[in-house]
């Protein structure tokens, strides 16, 4: 089953590649074992499963925020702990991670800035790092345009100067999505990014992200506790089960479910 699916989608190298990865806590307690997972450009993969099973930890591991206990995690051609190139990875955490006291535009510009390549080459590593950092403080007009486009796509143009703390939960979620779209990453990691949204907002967010992924050959890995919703949007659905869904299994495994 899986082979057919992959063959249909394969365009180039996988964006995410996990080989024999064990994910868990710092004290060495394993949550999930993943023998093999590859995500290809243009693919939308959803991970579902009961709460506390390690879905978010898997996402954080791919984002490079947590180390895996063992195995190799490769993202955008670089093996973690080496980070992917600047702006290649977009991450929408469940708590969104927006700068609450700053405006919508400021937040989206952070993403657009991350997507901009600014490279001064210098033989001294530190001078190069420092000058690039200083240069990145000055956003280009292109970044500004990208931010405006993303904000418009998320239908937030009237809120462009509003601080985040004055927005509703759904509007904040749209800002986080706009930030990722303005960044134009090769891989989007989204943690329950459709939860607590009304139908109309969900439609806007989902359409924005899916269109971006399909048009730009990016990949989307989304964690979703609602299996039926995951089925509607994903090309592939992986379910992490610790025995709560299928009582016959003995260890935490990830199974691929037909969509």
């Amino acid at each position: 089953m899986r082979e057919d699916n992959v063959v249909a989608k394969v365009i180039g190298k996988p964006i995410v590649k996990l080989i024999d990865v064990e994910i868990g806590y710092k004290n060495g307690e394993t949550l999930v074992k993943i023998p093999d997972l590859e995500i290809f450009p243009g693919e939308i993969v959803a991970i579902a499963g009961p709460s506390g099973v390690g879905k978010t930890t898997l996402l954080r591991t791919i984002a490079g925020l947590v180390r895996s206990i063992s195995g190799t995690v490769e993202v955008c051609g670089r093996v973690v702990p080496h980070r992917p190139k600047r702006g290649k990875l977009g991450y929408i955490p469940q708590k969104l991670g927006l700068v609450r006291h700053a405006s919508v535009m400021h937040n989206v510009m952070l993403g657009a800035n991350a997507g901009q390549k600014k490279e001064i080459i210098h033989r001294n590593k530190y001078i190069q790092m420092f000058s690039n950092s200083v240069l990145s403080l000055f956003p280009s007009t292109k970044a500004k345009r990208k931010s405006r486009d993303a904000i418009e796509k998320m239908r937030l143009t009237d809120k462009i100067g509003e601080p985040i703390r004055r927005l509703s939960g759904g509007q904040q979620r749209r800002v986080a999505t706009a930030r990722t779209l303005a960044q134009e990453p090769a891989l989007i990691l989204a943690d329950e990014f459709l939860s607590e949204l009304d139908d109309e907002t969900m439609e806007t967010v989902l359409r924005g992200v899916v269109t971006y992924v399909k048009n730009n050959n990016a990949a989307l890995l989304v964690v979703e506790h609602d299996v039926s919703r995951a089925k509607t949007m994903a090309d592939r659905l992986l379910v992490i089960d610790d025995g709560r869904i299928n009582p016959f299994i003995t260890e935490v495994t990830m199974i691929e479910v037909k969509v």
């Binding site: 954080r60 984002a63 490079g64 925020l65 980070r83 992917p84 190139k85 600047r86 702006g87 290649k88 990875l89 977009g90 991450y91 929408i92 955490p93 708590k95 969104l96 991670g97 927006l98 700068v99 609450r100 006291h101 700053a102 400021h106 510009m109 952070l110 993403g111 800035n113 991350a114 790092m129 420092f130 690039n132 950092s133 200083v134 990145s136 403080l137 601080p163 703390r165 960044q183 990453p185 990691l189």
Partner: protein, 293 residues
């Protein structure tokens, strides 16, 4: 059964008795205490009271060069107090400009272990000496006057404000930092784009608090010759004109009270939720209880 309450009472009693035993070791004659109260009344009645308000009148020295609107702006009290406030203001501004990058380096959630320890040692060194000791140091280096006061207070501000700032930064929500890091933003971008806007309210509120603190302490540094109203207090103390000293002290008390109030009102605009709750005059004496959320 030993309850928590009885434990608390017995522990308090032990601490109080322990303090008294230490005090007893330091005091050789308790009889001096009765003489002390008598002395206080004599001192207060003969030397301190009534205050000599001539300090609010124009003096021959310092020479008044401009023609002011009000006469008292040529008085030593006015000149000294405004100088103290000026020193406090300038050193708060410069101190916070210097301390902000150091505190970002000192915050463990933003920089590496070695860098943060280095930055913390710098801040601790600036903070370890009180501003009056720094003032003595700078009076020796650059001579008498408000300039040495500004330098002394700036260094102390860097140390004190830096500690407040890095503790606030370390306490900030981790999720915005994580998402910025995974996007690939550089450390300078994270500091300017995420940390400073997110912490702006508390940073400004700490700055205002520091200004208020510097005004209070700026009255002292003049005693060692570093400018401000303390210079005149020291002068009249030397000439044993205590009635003038008490009028300076009353003026300082009133000004500090006003600045305290202004500081509380200004900080109420920069509290965490950003909504405005104006304090009343009573809050100076009876602070408002914080709402538990």
């Amino acid at each position: 059964m030993i309850t928590l309450k009885s434990k608390f009472i017995s522990l308090s009693l032990i601490l109080i008795m322990f303090s008294f035993s230490i005090l007893n070791g330091m005091v050789d004659d308790w009889g001096r205490l009765s003489g002390g109260i008598e002395n206080l009344f004599i001192f207060f009645g003969e030397s301190l009271w009534p205050p000599d308000w001539s300090v609010l009148e124009p003096q021959n020295y310092p020479v008044c060069t401009t023609y002011p609107l009000f006469d008292f702006t040529c008085s030593t009290a006015w000149i000294g107090m405004t100088e103290t406030i000026k020193i406090a203001f300038v050193s708060t501004i410069f101190g916070s400009i210097i301390s902000l990058p150091i505190s970002i380096l000192a915050a463990r959630n933003l920089s590496s272990l070695s860098l943060s320890y280095f930055a913390r040692i710098v801040l601790a060194a600036a903070r370890s000496l009180p501003s009056i000791i720094w003032a003595i140091f700078f009076v020796i280096l650059v001579g008498f006057g408000p300039f040495s006061g500004v330098l002394a207070m700036t260094i102390y501000t860097v140390g004190y404000l830096g500690k407040l700032q890095y503790e606030a930064i370390e306490g900030m929500n981790n999720v915005p930092l994580e998402s910025a890091r995974s996007m690939g933003l550089s450390k300078i971008e994270i500091a300017t784009g995420v940390v400073i806007p997110e912490m702006a309210n508390s940073l400004i509120s700490q700055m205002i608090f520091m200004f208020e603190y510097n005004v209070r302490h700026g009255t002292v540094i003049g005693i060692v010759g570093a400018g401000g109203i303390g210079y005149y207090i020291n002068l009249y103390l030397k000439f044993l004109q205590y009635d003038k000293v008490i009028s300076y002290l009353i003026i300082i008390f009133i000004v500090v009270l006003i600045i305290d109030f202004l500081s509380i009102s200004a900080r109420s605009y920069f509290n965490e939720e950003g909504d405005i709750s104006k304090p009343s005059w009573w809050d100076l004496f009876i602070p408002k209880m914080k709402r538990v959320e």
